[in-house]
């Protein structure tokens, strides 16, 4: 099967929105939680206000600056990863629907196409084998 490049990562689909939310929201909560735990554990370890203001707060300022500076890149990478991953499931669905419609319309020569890395590949391969068996 020829390798076909993914052209559209975002197919306007509520499933993909939901999938992206499922990936991004817990990740952001996890990152914020880890940040807070890190800050809180250091704060409760230092406890004395002079120690906190002299060492922890300047350090946290630097950490915040680095986090803010890298936030656009981090968010871009997270969203991109979520899009690519969700597209492996959602992307082939509309094409499969179209191809299945062609088969239902009577064209028995049509076979279902899917990219090698798409999550539905094992099922599509089996469906193609079923179509081969029926066509014989």
């Amino acid at each position: 099967m020829a390798k076909r490049k993914r052209r559209r990562y975002f197919v306007n689909n509520t499933f993909q929105y939901r999938y992206i939310a499922v990936v991004i929201v817990p990740l952001i909560i996890l990152m914020a939680g880890l940040y807070y735990i890190m800050y809180y554990s250091m704060f409760t370890h230092m406890l004395i206000p002079e120690a906190v203001t002299a060492t922890l707060l300047p350090a946290m300022k630097k950490v915040n600056f680095v986090l803010l500076a890298t936030l656009p890149v981090t968010l871009f990478l997270i969203i991109r990863a979520a899009l690519v991953d969700s597209n492996r499931v959602v992307g082939p669905v509309s094409r499969l629907e179209r191809e299945l419609d062609m088969i239902l319309a009577g064209d028995r020569s049509v076979r279902l196409n899917i990219r090698a890395k798409d999550d539905l590949k094992p099922i599509v391969d089996r469906m193609n084998r079923v179509l081969d068996t029926i066509s014989k």
């Binding site: 800050y39 809180y40 704060f43 409760t44 230092m46 406890l47 004395i48 206000p49 002079e50 120690a51 906190v52 203001t53 002299a54 922890l56 707060l57």
Partner: protein, 222 residues
């Protein structure tokens, strides 16, 4: 036999109730009379380490804090409702004040031979509150000082160099009232830690103070 048992049952029940439901006067007592007493206190070094050593006067122990241009604290986590145990008492003595000149800089004025902290730790530094009792050199007793560490830190001068320093001085402070006096608002519900400190890093001089018998206790019944 059974009758006798039934007769003493009420007494046993009363004794049991007293043990279970009686409110202790003290929440915590730190007498420093045991070799291991200081092990439960944690150090927080701010600018070189102050020597906090357990010393003995006969069978009675106390903490000697010696700072040679250093600033570090010794703290102990405690967690209790302030309204249940609003009093804190302790004994202290200043052996040597840090060398603050008459026109001391801000950093020099920040040196105190003896400090006692009550820490109301919260989910973040900005919402935590810190009440300090300080033994200052030149400041007037009753002065409330702010701190460069922020608005959530208040210091009350409760002793100065004119206080009798030949002997140990005992303090009994109502933290609830002191907090209201210093911050002008109701205190947080829970106290998270207490700490002692001796610092002389701003003056780069020598300071020494002694601490003993820290007690967190209820208000006396009227």
């Amino acid at each position: 036999m059974l009758k006798r048992l039934l007769r003493i049952c009420p007494f046993i029940f009363c004794l049991f109730s007293l043990i279970v439901f009686a409110d202790p006067v003290y929440f915590k007592q730190f007498t420093f009379d045991d070799d291991n007493d200081l092990l439960k206190w944690k150090k927080m070094i701010l600018n070189r380490e102050v020597d906090y050593l357990l010393r003995w006067y006969g069978a009675q122990g106390f903490v000697q804090a010696s700072s040679n241009g250093a600033c570090s604290a010794l703290y102990r986590r405690v967690k209790y409702r302030l309204t249940d145990y609003p009093l804190i008492s302790w004994k202290w003595k200043v052996e040597q004040f840090p060398d603050i000149g008459e026109k001391g800089t801000e950093a020099e004025k920040d040196d105190f031979a003896a400090r006692f902290y009550v820490i109301f730790s919260s989910w973040s530094f900005s919402s935590s509150k810190f009440l300090e009792y300080v033994w200052a050199k030149d400041l007037e007793v009753g002065t409330v000082l702010g701190s460069k560490s922020g608005e959530n830190v208040k210091r009350i001068v409760i002793r100065n160099s004119s206080s009798e320093s030949e002997t140990w001085l005992a303090e009994v402070r109502n933290v609830y009232e002191d907090y209201k006096f210093a911050f002008g608002q109701e205190p947080p519900k829970k106290v998270g830690a207490v700490a002692i400190m001796c610092d002389a890093d701003g003056t780069n001089s020598i300071a020494e103070s002694l601490f003993d018998d820290i007690q967190i206790e209820r208000l006396a019944e009227k």
